[in-house]
Point group: C2
Chain length 705, copies 2
Amino acid sequence: MAPISTVVTNGADKNGSPHLQTSPTQDQKEIDQALRTFRCLIADLCEQFKGGHPGGAMGMAAIGIALWKYTMKYSPTNPNYFNRDRFVLSNGHTCLFQYTFLHLVGYPAMTMEQLKSYHSTRTDSICPGHPEIENDGIEVTTGPLGQGVANAVGLAMATKHLGARYNRPGFEVVNNMTWCMIGDACLQEGVAMEAIQLAGHWKLNSLVVIYDNNQVTCDGSVDLCNTEDVNAKMRACGWDVIDVDDGCYDVPALTVALSQARSNTKPTFINVRTVIGIGSKVAGDAKAHGAAYGAEDVASIKTKFGMDPEQHFVVQNEVYDFFRDAIQRGQAHENEWNQLLERYAKEYPELHQEFLLRVEGKMTDDWTKIIPSKEEFPTTPTPSRKSAGFCCNPLASKLQNMMVGTADLTPSVNMAWKGKVDFQHPDLKTTCGINGDYSGRYVHWGIREHAMASISNGLAAFNKGTILPVTSSFFMFYIYAAPGVRMGALQGLQQIHIATHDSIGTGEDGPTHQPIALAALYRAMPNLLYIRPCDSEETAGAFISALKATNSPTIISLSRQNLEQYPQYSCREKAQKGAYVFVEEEDADVTLIGVGAEMVFAMRTRQLLQEKFNVKARVRSVLKYKSTPRVVIEAYAVNGWERYADAGFSMSSFGHSLPGPAAYKYFGFDEQVIAPKVAEFLGDVKRDGLASLRGEFRDLNDGHH
Amino acid sequence: MAPISTVVTNGADKNGSPHLQTSPTQDQKEIDQALRTFRCLIADLCEQFKGGHPGGAMGMAAIGIALWKYTMKYSPTNPNYFNRDRFVLSNGHTCLFQYTFLHLVGYPAMTMEQLKSYHSTRTDSICPGHPEIENDGIEVTTGPLGQGVANAVGLAMATKHLGARYNRPGFEVVNNMTWCMIGDACLQEGVAMEAIQLAGHWKLNSLVVIYDNNQVTCDGSVDLCNTEDVNAKMRACGWDVIDVDDGCYDVPALTVALSQARSNTKPTFINVRTVIGIGSKVAGDAKAHGAAYGAEDVASIKTKFGMDPEQHFVVQNEVYDFFRDAIQRGQAHENEWNQLLERYAKEYPELHQEFLLRVEGKMTDDWTKIIPSKEEFPTTPTPSRKSAGFCCNPLASKLQNMMVGTADLTPSVNMAWKGKVDFQHPDLKTTCGINGDYSGRYVHWGIREHAMASISNGLAAFNKGTILPVTSSFFMFYIYAAPGVRMGALQGLQQIHIATHDSIGTGEDGPTHQPIALAALYRAMPNLLYIRPCDSEETAGAFISALKATNSPTIISLSRQNLEQYPQYSCREKAQKGAYVFVEEEDADVTLIGVGAEMVFAMRTRQLLQEKFNVKARVRSVLKYKSTPRVVIEAYAVNGWERYADAGFSMSSFGHSLPGPAAYKYFGFDEQVIAPKVAEFLGDVKRDGLASLRGEFRDLNDGHH
């Protein structure tokens, strides 16, 4: 499709850049001045605090002019208007590139004072070392290299999906582009290569990746570690490729390339040759990458570019004038879109109503009524991954904002609902018999856990609440996804990660598939919920918590194997508190903390303690309880539990390849082993007194076998 | 090179498969019977316990015959002889493929009884659900998809490197091949794509990747999530590509392809069309992937292949006979190699001496004398990343077994030593002016943290102790590398991971680059040392610990910023214990636990407590100490410290983009903030008594700012 050109608007040219008053060929004089000014300003901004990343930003100046002056649809006075183009800076260390253009085109918050706060001690700076989503004009927090590419794929995917559901002939209410700037490094990170495969497979022509090809990384020439034919590779991945030879100055060529990309039928890769740190004495060298250039070189840069070496942070009025039309252009885009929506409301009132809910980030249905009640769950042993299906399938079938996907584990994770439609390019039907289209909300991520999480960050970041991504895989493989899951938590993006086959209960696949330490990472991670429900009712509670957590991702950790159901004890409301009395016991001698798939061992141990050891045990969740010793039972590394318990029966080694029940037995998860250990521990406590426990956490599992 | 064909040996054919008594074209009858037998046996092995992965193994049978009968150099009676070919099963779930061929060619440990233990409750099974390095004939533990490709690149890299150092004209003492079997999934995982780029860049013609192209994954057709032109992509990455159309039966074609690959000048990708679960009623379908076929289908498979449906686990003597020459062939390879070594010893006695040390996995020099003494370190504030350079550079320059690399952070991590030679293909000198050759021991991994770790597992697994990989990057990016680091720990492979820029001291790069939760993962991970030294002397201790840990990887976590040096307190010997009294104090009121880059806050807090609050503080490392309250000070999530401390001053949120010192101040890491909190805490303890502390861990950092 050509998303823009179908919307005929006043002053739009054939290439679909609306309101383009002038063309880069007419503006050559202004462009030259803007380039000089921009590059000297970057050098100054890094020089003042003797640090930062000037080289890339200076090299990319012409690309920035082609984007912000002649190509992108955005509105400085309303940075978040819904149908804006999204810009992603995957090479986030060049953030001054973006900050400075946001300043030049008139984003009110991005004052020169703010620009100058880059690398300062100002705690209210909106110019951090990498772009952060909280700030106007920033669509996603990138930073760790490669993430931005995946985020951009998610943003472009959102456009295609929302367009497929809500656009109608003559009413393209969602048709924005996503422009992603990358450096050499982003083409080496696996997460980017996974995302590139998917963008090509889905033919996301709403996505344009602009490669700042300066052939320099920290170590030196890219040839040190990468000599592939990148254009041929991108074509093999289903992308179109455009080359631009003089990316440092040729704004007209860049503008034509960007405009061509816009009317493409595939995602486009624009390979732009640039010179890192152009103008500096270290231009084209790795030294130009990540350090200030020193007063002398900065002065010589200014002399070279015909600016006054004595003056700093200079932006001439002509340069501001040159970019001044950005605000009007932006407001015109908004107005067009608002007018389009008004006509849309008349033509398609119901669709318009639903669309408004999406724009406001509201659910399209009352989800609280959709999750099955306790009575509707089977009381026979059930794997909690199946319980998750009971909860999520009806939600996904009704809630239009849910996009549910899996890293190639559809038969195992139970996330596919009856009547689901796959998110696919419609052409695949004819080319290889694959059903689905862009309106589909079930995503086959392939065996790409990292991209699944990082693309989902882009889906969630398109517009807060418009899309709620649900990912799924085995819990162990969320160690591949961890960098993406972390970035979701850091950005406060709501997502639900369905992590099945947790702990050693996974069984035969062996230690390579049995998570032991991973839970410690997610329990320590800020702004992330990690929940291990023990049965269907607690799984329902986990989904309610996840749906309420509109500013956090949630991992729901689930079992492969059948779990006892405890309808008489488990409670979705209490579970949301993260902790509650499971089984109360008058004057208990001990509190057993049961967790997720291992609750069954806590319950059986409780019974055995009573029968064989005359010990009364209360079973709880995490909550602290002072007056009796507390023992946690979980088949993970115990790290972190010491805060809530006095002793633990847990894992201190990797797992073993055995059938699930045999694996548990092998590591001593068996009431016949646990109960005596607990009784012995209680004997010691009785002898030495509760005080003896302080801080002296006791490991009760001596590794058995 | 053509590693084999240059060694002319009795009975070697032109294609370089020595001692090939017969050719696949002559053996068609035996081959057909072997294929039938193999496929029925796989079906039986999965059927007995109603589980496992039969489909891939059955589809790959002909590939296995081409490998184990006509191509690979291995010795069943001495599985670990040094110059053997390495086989890696990256699609590890098809492990029955490998186990069954190990049985057929006569690996003594792999009895039929052991084969039958697959998916059983036998705890001493050597047939786990994925191959494990502890067992004969298994080179690496694969499992999580994509890892095996990277491991294979590491094994192939080891061959090129050792060959470059030790081979001499007519004396190819190291010239083995690495054969890596992959499935569709391995071509989607980022870690594999990173490794593929590097193998192409390095022209590792010692590597052959065999693609079991059955176009089926768990979700169904590969077209659901991948429609790239894989051959074109591999060529773009610098690989040669060979297609084999009938991979299910055409052993002659497969043998020719493997033989061509052997005499290639680039790494080779053999794209083999196969049918998953061939013979079964679900052949070619996703259902054939990961479940037993049921008694009826297994019977019909046997009928289809002309075997008796009533009989199970049948291997006719003719089939054993067919593979019987494997043992003699293997012993012949060994003898040749041993004879070659004898001649080599006479011709190159010194080189031979060094080579023997490498084969035995011994250091080539007495490393204990190489690390600088305390007196040689500067006493002025020093970043511990620089201290790491002081320790590692002399080690790397002397120890031939060290291969040190970085994920494109040479200027930041200080791992490059004077006179280092890069590991590169010599051609790069002429093609793009890059210096280096295969004898080089400094590796430019590019921006590929995950592949860096997973390829290093292959380097370390080539032969225990022969190569000691040292990786380096910012600590935060070890979240990308985590799946590889974990597999190293799981396999007990010695490696040193140099993780710089730890905690919020990293500063301006911001929260995206500041690790908060990551340490919790590595502290919880079995068989991994995670060490945060506080100054140069403790850094020396960390290296000694890492070099002594011959069965574990070690992460040394280091600061970007300058750290106070404490020569009067710090001690490399005590540091190796993981905990010791740093500053003793008669009748101390509190024990402060100082860690790594935050030791300075413990020391300053101690002083301020004394001066302003009349509180006596002892400073310690982790060790427990009962009689006084213990406070840990570290800029990470506190999870796990509760075991060793009663209170903590730590992080509960992500970081902030500020200069390092400002970032610490922003989060309250400042003795002016910490000391009063500690004093207040001690007041409470005095009032309520030590017993009041039990388990009630106290967070002293209320987030300041």
